[in-house]
Protein backbone atom coordinates (compact mmCIF):
# COMPACT_ATOMS: atom_id res chain seq x y z
CA UNK A 1 0.00 0.00 0.00
CA UNK A 2 1.55 3.27 -1.17
CA UNK A 3 0.52 6.53 0.50
CA UNK A 4 -0.20 9.67 -1.49
CA UNK A 5 2.87 11.86 -2.08
CA UNK A 6 3.90 14.48 0.46
CA UNK A 7 6.83 16.68 1.37
CA UNK A 8 8.82 15.69 4.44
CA UNK A 9 10.03 18.18 7.05
CA UNK A 10 12.12 17.54 10.13
CA UNK A 11 12.31 20.70 12.28
CA UNK A 12 14.86 20.89 15.10
CA UNK A 13 12.81 22.95 17.54
CA UNK A 14 9.23 23.31 18.69
CA UNK A 15 9.17 26.94 17.50
CA UNK A 16 10.28 25.84 14.05
CA UNK A 17 7.61 23.11 14.03
CA UNK A 18 4.76 25.44 15.01
CA UNK A 19 6.09 27.96 12.45
CA UNK A 20 5.95 25.33 9.71
CA UNK A 21 2.46 24.33 10.77
CA UNK A 22 1.31 27.96 10.61
CA UNK A 23 2.94 28.47 7.22
CA UNK A 24 1.71 25.25 5.60
CA UNK A 25 -1.78 25.37 7.10
CA UNK A 26 -4.24 22.53 6.94
CA UNK A 27 -2.29 20.65 4.26
CA UNK A 28 0.30 19.78 6.93
CA UNK A 29 0.19 17.12 9.59
CA UNK A 30 2.63 16.47 12.42
CA UNK A 31 4.21 13.02 12.66
CA UNK A 32 5.14 11.50 16.03
CA UNK A 33 5.63 7.71 16.15
CA UNK A 34 3.48 7.33 13.06
CA UNK A 35 1.73 4.18 14.18
CA UNK A 36 -1.74 5.66 13.79
CA UNK A 37 -1.04 8.15 11.00
CA UNK A 38 1.04 5.99 8.64
CA UNK A 39 -1.51 3.15 8.48
CA UNK A 40 -4.17 5.81 7.73
CA UNK A 41 -1.95 7.26 5.00
CA UNK A 42 -1.36 3.82 3.52
CA UNK A 43 -5.12 3.35 3.29
CA UNK A 44 -5.35 6.91 1.89
CA UNK A 45 -7.79 7.83 4.62
CA UNK A 46 -5.23 10.55 5.33
CA UNK A 47 -3.28 12.35 2.61
CA UNK A 48 -1.42 15.31 4.09
CA UNK A 49 0.69 17.25 1.60
CA UNK A 50 3.33 17.97 4.21
CA UNK A 51 4.54 15.80 7.07
CA UNK A 52 6.30 17.50 9.95
CA UNK A 53 8.35 14.87 11.75
CA UNK A 54 8.90 15.84 15.41
CA UNK A 55 11.63 13.28 16.16
CA UNK A 56 14.55 15.76 16.35
CA UNK A 57 12.90 18.12 18.84
CA UNK A 58 14.79 17.48 22.08
CA UNK A 59 12.43 19.61 24.18
CA UNK A 60 9.60 17.17 23.37
CA UNK A 61 11.49 14.25 24.93
CA UNK A 62 11.96 13.03 28.45
CA UNK A 63 10.36 12.50 31.84
CA UNK A 64 10.96 14.95 34.69
CA UNK A 65 9.71 14.97 38.26
CA UNK A 66 9.26 18.11 40.30
CA UNK A 67 8.33 18.18 43.97
CA UNK A 68 6.74 21.56 44.53
CA UNK A 69 4.59 22.95 47.32
CA UNK A 70 1.04 21.69 47.15
CA UNK A 71 2.17 18.44 45.53
CA UNK A 72 4.66 17.71 42.81
CA UNK A 73 4.14 16.58 39.28
CA UNK A 74 5.57 14.47 36.52
CA UNK A 75 6.11 16.20 33.20
CA UNK A 76 6.38 13.96 30.14
CA UNK A 77 7.48 15.24 26.74
CA UNK A 78 4.98 14.34 24.04
CA UNK A 79 7.58 12.48 21.94
CA UNK A 80 8.46 10.11 24.79
CA UNK A 81 7.81 6.59 23.50
CA UNK A 82 5.81 3.87 25.21
CA UNK A 83 9.06 1.93 25.47
CA UNK A 84 10.71 4.84 27.30
CA UNK A 85 7.72 5.16 29.65
CA UNK A 86 8.04 1.46 30.52
CA UNK A 87 11.81 1.70 30.99
CA UNK A 88 11.67 4.66 33.40
CA UNK A 89 12.07 3.46 36.99
CA UNK A 90 11.44 6.96 38.30
CA UNK A 91 8.09 7.05 36.53
CA UNK A 92 7.26 3.55 37.76
CA UNK A 93 7.90 4.66 41.34
CA UNK A 94 5.86 7.86 41.08
CA UNK A 95 3.00 6.75 38.78
CA UNK A 96 3.16 2.95 38.46
CA UNK A 97 -0.18 2.93 36.63
CA UNK A 98 1.55 4.18 33.48
CA UNK A 99 3.99 1.27 33.18
CA UNK A 100 1.20 -1.20 33.90
CA UNK A 101 -0.93 0.27 31.11
CA UNK A 102 1.87 0.89 28.60
CA UNK A 103 2.83 -2.78 28.74
CA UNK A 104 -0.69 -3.58 27.54
CA UNK A 105 -0.47 -1.30 24.50
CA UNK A 106 0.22 -2.81 21.07
CA UNK A 107 3.42 -4.89 20.82
CA UNK A 108 7.16 -4.34 21.43
CA UNK A 109 7.93 -2.91 17.97
CA UNK A 110 5.05 -0.48 18.11
CA UNK A 111 6.02 0.60 21.64
CA UNK A 112 9.55 1.51 20.49
CA UNK A 113 8.08 4.18 18.19
CA UNK A 114 4.59 4.95 19.47
CA UNK A 115 4.57 8.06 21.67
CA UNK A 116 2.44 9.20 24.57
CA UNK A 117 1.78 12.50 22.81
CA UNK A 118 0.52 10.81 19.67
CA UNK A 119 -1.56 8.42 21.72
CA UNK A 120 -3.36 11.21 23.61
CA UNK A 121 -3.54 13.80 20.80
CA UNK A 122 -4.96 11.57 18.10
CA UNK A 123 -8.35 11.31 19.80
CA UNK A 124 -8.84 7.67 18.86
CA UNK A 125 -11.29 6.25 21.43
CA UNK A 126 -9.42 2.94 21.21
CA UNK A 127 -6.20 4.42 22.57
CA UNK A 128 -5.37 3.62 26.18
CA UNK A 129 -3.51 6.72 27.34
CA UNK A 130 -6.45 9.17 27.11
CA UNK A 131 -8.53 7.32 29.72
CA UNK A 132 -5.44 6.84 31.82
CA UNK A 133 -4.66 10.56 31.72
CA UNK A 134 -8.23 11.34 32.75
CA UNK A 135 -7.93 8.92 35.65
CA UNK A 136 -4.69 10.66 36.71
CA UNK A 137 -6.19 14.15 36.16
CA UNK A 138 -3.35 15.07 33.81
CA UNK A 139 -3.19 18.29 31.79
CA UNK A 140 -1.99 18.63 28.20
CA UNK A 141 0.13 21.56 27.05
CA UNK A 142 -0.55 22.85 23.58
CA UNK A 143 1.92 25.07 21.74
CA UNK A 144 0.69 27.17 18.86
CA UNK A 145 0.91 30.50 17.11
CA UNK A 146 -0.60 32.26 20.14
CA UNK A 147 1.78 30.70 22.65
CA UNK A 148 1.15 27.92 25.09
CA UNK A 149 -2.03 26.87 26.85
CA UNK A 150 -3.10 24.03 29.08
CA UNK A 151 -6.18 21.83 28.78
CA UNK A 152 -7.23 19.23 31.36
CA UNK A 153 -7.36 15.68 29.96
CA UNK A 154 -10.90 15.50 31.34
CA UNK A 155 -11.90 18.46 29.10
CA UNK A 156 -9.86 17.56 26.03
CA UNK A 157 -11.95 14.97 24.18
CA UNK A 158 -15.05 16.06 22.21
CA UNK A 159 -15.85 13.04 20.03
CA UNK A 160 -13.92 10.44 18.03
CA UNK A 161 -10.78 12.16 16.65
CA UNK A 162 -12.11 15.58 17.69
CA UNK A 163 -10.27 17.24 20.56
CA UNK A 164 -9.71 20.69 22.07
CA UNK A 165 -6.47 20.99 20.08
CA UNK A 166 -6.77 23.70 17.44
CA UNK A 167 -5.27 23.44 13.96
CA UNK A 168 -1.81 24.93 14.23
CA UNK A 169 -1.24 23.63 17.77
CA UNK A 170 1.12 20.85 18.78
CA UNK A 171 0.52 18.86 21.94
CA UNK A 172 3.93 19.28 23.57
CA UNK A 173 3.82 18.08 27.17
CA UNK A 174 1.72 16.07 29.58
CA UNK A 175 1.66 17.16 33.22
CA UNK A 176 0.53 14.62 35.79
CA UNK A 177 0.00 15.57 39.44
CA UNK A 178 1.87 13.08 41.66
CA UNK A 179 -0.62 10.63 43.15
CA UNK A 180 -0.52 10.22 46.94
CA UNK A 181 2.32 7.98 48.20
CA UNK A 182 1.06 4.46 48.76
CA UNK A 183 -1.93 4.86 46.43
CA UNK A 184 -3.51 1.82 44.80
CA UNK A 185 -3.76 1.56 41.05
CA UNK A 186 -4.77 -0.83 38.29
CA UNK A 187 -5.37 -0.90 34.56
CA UNK A 188 -7.47 -3.84 33.47
CA UNK A 189 -7.90 -4.39 29.75
CA UNK A 190 -9.59 -7.14 27.79
CA UNK A 191 -8.34 -7.47 24.24
CA UNK A 192 -8.84 -10.20 21.68
CA UNK A 193 -5.15 -10.48 20.92
CA UNK A 194 -1.85 -8.67 21.36
CA UNK A 195 -1.95 -5.47 19.37
CA UNK A 196 -5.73 -5.13 19.44
CA UNK A 197 -7.59 -2.22 20.98
CA UNK A 198 -9.52 -2.87 24.16
CA UNK A 199 -12.88 -4.58 24.04
CA UNK A 200 -13.17 -2.71 27.34
CA UNK A 201 -10.63 -1.35 29.80
CA UNK A 202 -10.76 0.36 33.18
CA UNK A 203 -8.24 2.53 35.02
CA UNK A 204 -8.56 2.96 38.77
CA UNK A 205 -6.53 5.07 41.19
CA UNK A 206 -7.48 5.16 44.88
CA UNK A 207 -6.17 5.66 48.39
CA UNK A 208 -6.98 3.53 51.43
CA UNK A 209 -6.50 4.52 55.03
CA UNK A 210 -7.79 2.63 58.06
CA UNK A 211 -9.86 0.33 55.84
CA UNK A 212 -11.68 3.20 54.11
CA UNK A 213 -11.22 4.68 50.69
CA UNK A 214 -9.94 8.27 50.81
CA UNK A 215 -10.22 9.33 47.20
CA UNK A 216 -10.90 7.36 44.03
CA UNK A 217 -10.73 8.04 40.32
CA UNK A 218 -12.17 5.85 37.56
CA UNK A 219 -11.85 6.11 33.78
CA UNK A 220 -12.77 3.73 30.96
CA UNK A 221 -11.35 3.05 27.50
CA UNK A 222 -13.07 2.27 24.17
CA UNK A 223 -16.56 2.32 25.62
CA UNK A 224 -17.79 5.53 23.97
CA UNK A 225 -16.57 7.81 21.19
CA UNK A 226 -14.29 9.47 23.76
CA UNK A 227 -12.54 8.15 26.87
CA UNK A 228 -14.97 8.18 29.79
CA UNK A 229 -14.05 9.77 33.10
CA UNK A 230 -16.65 8.27 35.45
CA UNK A 231 -16.75 10.86 38.23
CA UNK A 232 -19.79 9.23 39.83
CA UNK A 233 -18.03 5.87 40.00
CA UNK A 234 -15.12 7.46 41.86
CA UNK A 235 -17.55 9.25 44.17
CA UNK A 236 -19.28 5.94 44.95
CA UNK A 237 -15.95 4.53 46.17
CA UNK A 238 -14.60 7.58 48.03
CA UNK A 239 -15.39 7.43 51.72
CA UNK A 240 -16.67 3.85 51.50
CA UNK A 241 -15.25 0.63 52.97
CA UNK A 242 -14.73 -0.60 49.37
CA UNK A 243 -17.09 -3.47 50.16
CA UNK A 244 -19.54 -5.17 47.80
CA UNK A 245 -22.20 -2.45 48.02
CA UNK A 246 -19.74 0.35 47.19
CA UNK A 247 -18.24 -1.62 44.30
CA UNK A 248 -21.72 -2.40 42.92
CA UNK A 249 -22.60 1.29 43.10
CA UNK A 250 -19.37 2.27 41.34
CA UNK A 251 -19.95 -0.26 38.57
CA UNK A 252 -23.55 0.91 38.12
CA UNK A 253 -22.35 4.52 37.89
CA UNK A 254 -19.65 3.60 35.35
CA UNK A 255 -22.09 1.62 33.21
CA UNK A 256 -24.42 4.60 33.18
CA UNK A 257 -21.58 6.80 31.91
CA UNK A 258 -20.49 4.65 28.96
CA UNK A 259 -22.04 4.37 25.52
CA UNK A 260 -20.35 1.50 23.69
CA UNK A 261 -21.02 0.74 20.03
CA UNK A 262 -21.39 -2.74 18.59
CA UNK A 263 -18.47 -3.76 16.38
CA UNK A 264 -16.37 -6.83 15.65
CA UNK A 265 -15.34 -6.91 19.32
CA UNK A 266 -18.92 -7.69 20.30
CA UNK A 267 -22.45 -6.37 20.75
CA UNK A 268 -23.34 -3.58 23.17
CA UNK A 269 -24.54 -5.90 25.94
CA UNK A 270 -21.27 -7.83 25.85
CA UNK A 271 -19.22 -4.66 26.08
CA UNK A 272 -21.26 -3.44 29.03
CA UNK A 273 -20.71 -6.79 30.70
CA UNK A 274 -16.96 -6.70 30.05
CA UNK A 275 -16.74 -3.09 31.23
CA UNK A 276 -18.22 -4.16 34.56
CA UNK A 277 -15.83 -7.10 34.86
CA UNK A 278 -12.79 -4.94 34.05
CA UNK A 279 -13.84 -2.30 36.56
CA UNK A 280 -14.45 -4.85 39.32
CA UNK A 281 -11.03 -6.39 38.73
CA UNK A 282 -9.36 -2.99 38.65
CA UNK A 283 -11.01 -1.87 41.88
CA UNK A 284 -10.08 -5.14 43.60
CA UNK A 285 -6.45 -4.96 42.51
CA UNK A 286 -6.09 -1.26 43.30
CA UNK A 287 -7.58 -1.87 46.74
CA UNK A 288 -5.24 -4.78 47.38
CA UNK A 289 -2.22 -2.74 46.33
CA UNK A 290 -3.21 0.31 48.40
CA UNK A 291 -3.75 -1.90 51.44
CA UNK A 292 -0.40 -3.66 50.94
CA UNK A 293 1.44 -0.42 50.37
CA UNK A 294 -0.18 1.16 53.44
CA UNK A 295 0.95 -1.85 55.50
CA UNK A 296 4.51 -1.52 54.13
CA UNK A 297 4.62 2.13 55.12
CA UNK A 298 3.61 1.44 58.72
CA UNK A 299 6.16 -1.39 59.17
Amino acid sequence: MIPAPFEYHRPASLAEATGLLAELGEDAHVLAGGHSLIPMMKLRLAAPEHLIDLQDIAELKGIARTDGEGGGEIVIGAMTTQHELIASDELARAVPLIREAALQIADPQVRYLGTIGGNVANGDPGNDMPGLMQCLDAAFELDGPNGRRRVAAREFYRSAYVTAREDGEILSRIRIPLPAPGHGFAYEKLKRKIGDYATAAAAVLLTVSGGRCGSASVALTNLADTPVFAADAGAALAGSDLGAAAVDAAVAAALAAIDPAADNRGPVAFKQHVAGVMLRRAIARATERATERAAEQTV
Binding site: P5, P39, P108, Q109, Y112, G195
Partner: protein
Protein backbone atom coordinates in the same frame (compact mmCIF):
# COMPACT_ATOMS: atom_id res chain seq x y z
CA UNK B 1 7.00 15.68 -5.57
CA UNK B 2 10.75 16.16 -5.38
CA UNK B 3 12.84 13.26 -4.22
CA UNK B 4 14.78 13.64 -1.00
CA UNK B 5 18.36 12.78 -0.31
CA UNK B 6 18.70 10.07 2.34
CA UNK B 7 21.79 8.77 4.09
CA UNK B 8 21.94 5.91 6.52
CA UNK B 9 24.11 3.06 7.67
CA UNK B 10 22.71 -0.33 6.74
CA UNK B 11 24.42 -3.47 8.01
CA UNK B 12 27.56 -1.43 8.69
CA UNK B 13 27.72 0.13 5.23
CA UNK B 14 27.04 3.79 4.47
CA UNK B 15 24.18 4.16 2.02
CA UNK B 16 23.07 7.25 0.11
CA UNK B 17 20.15 7.53 -2.27
CA UNK B 18 17.41 9.72 -3.64
CA UNK B 19 13.96 8.57 -2.62
CA UNK B 20 10.42 9.83 -2.72
CA UNK B 21 9.43 10.90 0.81
CA UNK B 22 6.46 8.54 0.70
CA UNK B 23 8.76 5.54 0.27
CA UNK B 24 8.33 3.15 3.16
CA UNK B 25 11.52 1.87 4.72
CA UNK B 26 10.66 -1.73 3.77
CA UNK B 27 10.37 -0.77 0.09
CA UNK B 28 13.62 1.18 0.27
CA UNK B 29 15.45 -1.80 1.80
CA UNK B 30 14.01 -4.36 -0.58
CA UNK B 31 13.85 -2.44 -3.84
CA UNK B 32 16.62 0.15 -3.60
CA UNK B 33 19.16 -1.84 -1.56
CA UNK B 34 18.08 -5.32 -2.69
CA UNK B 35 17.90 -6.48 0.91
CA UNK B 36 15.00 -8.90 0.55
CA UNK B 37 15.48 -10.58 3.94
CA UNK B 38 12.93 -8.34 5.65
CA UNK B 39 9.57 -9.49 4.29
CA UNK B 40 6.28 -7.77 3.62
CA UNK B 41 3.69 -9.92 5.35
CA UNK B 42 0.58 -8.03 6.40
CA UNK B 43 1.73 -4.53 5.38
CA UNK B 44 -0.33 -3.19 8.32
CA UNK B 45 2.21 -3.31 11.20
CA UNK B 46 0.73 -6.43 12.75
CA UNK B 47 2.83 -9.38 11.64
CA UNK B 48 6.43 -8.27 12.25
CA UNK B 49 7.91 -10.00 9.18
CA UNK B 50 9.41 -6.64 8.13
CA UNK B 51 11.14 -6.09 11.49
CA UNK B 52 14.56 -4.46 11.33
CA UNK B 53 16.78 -2.93 13.99
CA UNK B 54 16.92 0.88 13.86
CA UNK B 55 19.22 2.69 16.31
CA UNK B 56 18.80 -0.06 18.88
CA UNK B 57 15.04 -0.44 18.48
CA UNK B 58 13.08 -3.21 16.79
CA UNK B 59 10.79 -1.52 14.28
CA UNK B 60 8.29 -2.59 11.67
CA UNK B 61 9.77 -1.16 8.50
CA UNK B 62 6.38 -1.19 6.74
CA UNK B 63 5.24 1.57 9.08
CA UNK B 64 8.14 3.99 8.78
CA UNK B 65 8.95 6.43 5.99
CA UNK B 66 12.46 6.42 4.63
CA UNK B 67 12.90 10.04 5.77
CA UNK B 68 12.28 9.03 9.38
CA UNK B 69 15.23 6.67 9.09
CA UNK B 70 17.48 9.35 7.61
CA UNK B 71 20.75 9.29 9.57
CA UNK B 72 19.89 6.06 11.35
CA UNK B 73 21.85 2.88 11.80
CA UNK B 74 19.91 -0.11 10.53
CA UNK B 75 20.52 -3.83 10.82
CA UNK B 76 18.56 -6.37 8.80
CA UNK B 77 18.77 -10.17 8.86
CA UNK B 78 21.49 -9.88 6.19
CA UNK B 79 23.71 -8.06 8.68
CA UNK B 80 23.73 -10.32 11.69
CA UNK B 81 25.96 -13.26 10.69
CA UNK B 82 29.42 -13.29 12.28
CA UNK B 83 32.29 -11.45 10.58
CA UNK B 84 33.78 -14.75 9.34
CA UNK B 85 30.50 -15.60 7.61
CA UNK B 86 29.42 -18.22 10.13
CA UNK B 87 25.87 -18.07 11.43
CA UNK B 88 24.89 -15.86 14.37
CA UNK B 89 24.00 -17.92 17.46
CA UNK B 90 20.32 -17.15 16.94
CA UNK B 91 20.45 -18.36 13.34
CA UNK B 92 22.31 -21.45 14.49
CA UNK B 93 19.76 -22.17 17.23
CA UNK B 94 16.77 -21.60 14.93
CA UNK B 95 18.31 -24.29 12.70
CA UNK B 96 19.21 -26.58 15.59
CA UNK B 97 15.76 -26.41 17.20
CA UNK B 98 13.85 -26.14 13.94
CA UNK B 99 12.41 -22.75 14.90
CA UNK B 100 10.72 -22.38 11.54
CA UNK B 101 8.65 -24.21 9.01
CA UNK B 102 7.97 -22.05 5.98
CA UNK B 103 10.55 -19.47 7.08
CA UNK B 104 8.59 -16.39 6.10
CA UNK B 105 8.56 -14.89 9.60
CA UNK B 106 12.12 -15.96 10.43
CA UNK B 107 14.07 -12.82 9.42
CA UNK B 108 11.78 -10.67 11.58
CA UNK B 109 11.80 -13.20 14.42
CA UNK B 110 15.60 -13.38 14.55
CA UNK B 111 16.19 -9.64 14.26
CA UNK B 112 13.63 -9.06 17.01
CA UNK B 113 15.08 -11.83 19.20
CA UNK B 114 18.55 -10.32 18.84
CA UNK B 115 17.33 -6.99 20.27
CA UNK B 116 15.35 -8.77 22.98
CA UNK B 117 18.47 -10.64 24.15
CA UNK B 118 20.55 -7.46 24.01
CA UNK B 119 18.08 -5.87 26.44
CA UNK B 120 17.38 -8.95 28.53
CA UNK B 121 20.22 -11.49 28.21
CA UNK B 122 18.62 -14.12 30.45
CA UNK B 123 14.87 -14.05 29.77
CA UNK B 124 12.29 -16.46 31.13
CA UNK B 125 10.09 -18.33 28.69
CA UNK B 126 7.26 -15.91 29.47
CA UNK B 127 9.52 -12.94 28.76
CA UNK B 128 10.53 -14.43 25.41
CA UNK B 129 6.90 -14.95 24.46
CA UNK B 130 6.00 -11.40 25.50
CA UNK B 131 9.11 -10.05 23.76
CA UNK B 132 8.22 -11.61 20.40
CA UNK B 133 4.52 -10.87 20.67
CA UNK B 134 4.82 -8.41 17.76
CA UNK B 135 5.95 -11.20 15.42
CA UNK B 136 3.43 -13.66 14.04
CA UNK B 137 4.26 -17.18 12.90
CA UNK B 138 1.47 -19.09 11.21
CA UNK B 139 3.27 -22.46 11.09
CA UNK B 140 5.06 -23.43 14.26
CA UNK B 141 2.81 -22.55 17.17
CA UNK B 142 5.91 -20.69 18.47
CA UNK B 143 7.10 -23.67 20.53
CA UNK B 144 10.37 -24.19 18.69
CA UNK B 145 10.94 -20.49 18.14
CA UNK B 146 10.83 -19.93 21.89
CA UNK B 147 13.11 -22.94 22.42
CA UNK B 148 15.59 -21.58 19.89
CA UNK B 149 15.71 -18.15 21.51
CA UNK B 150 16.15 -19.61 25.00
CA UNK B 151 18.92 -21.87 23.70
CA UNK B 152 20.63 -18.89 22.05
CA UNK B 153 20.44 -16.97 25.32
CA UNK B 154 22.00 -19.92 27.19
CA UNK B 155 24.77 -20.24 24.59
CA UNK B 156 25.56 -16.53 24.64
CA UNK B 157 25.62 -16.49 28.44
CA UNK B 158 27.91 -19.55 28.57
CA UNK B 159 30.25 -17.87 26.06
CA UNK B 160 30.28 -14.71 28.16
CA UNK B 161 31.06 -16.68 31.31
CA UNK B 162 33.84 -18.62 29.61
CA UNK B 163 35.39 -15.36 28.42
CA UNK B 164 35.56 -13.96 31.94
Amino acid sequence: MAKMHVKMTVNGKAVEALAEPRTLLIHFLREELNLTGPHIGCDTSHCGACTVDLDGKSVKSCTLFVGQANGAEITTIEGIANADGSLHVLQEMFREHHGLQCGFCTPGMIVRARRLLAENPDPTEAEVRFGISGNLCRCTGYQNIVKAILAAAATLNAEKEAAQ
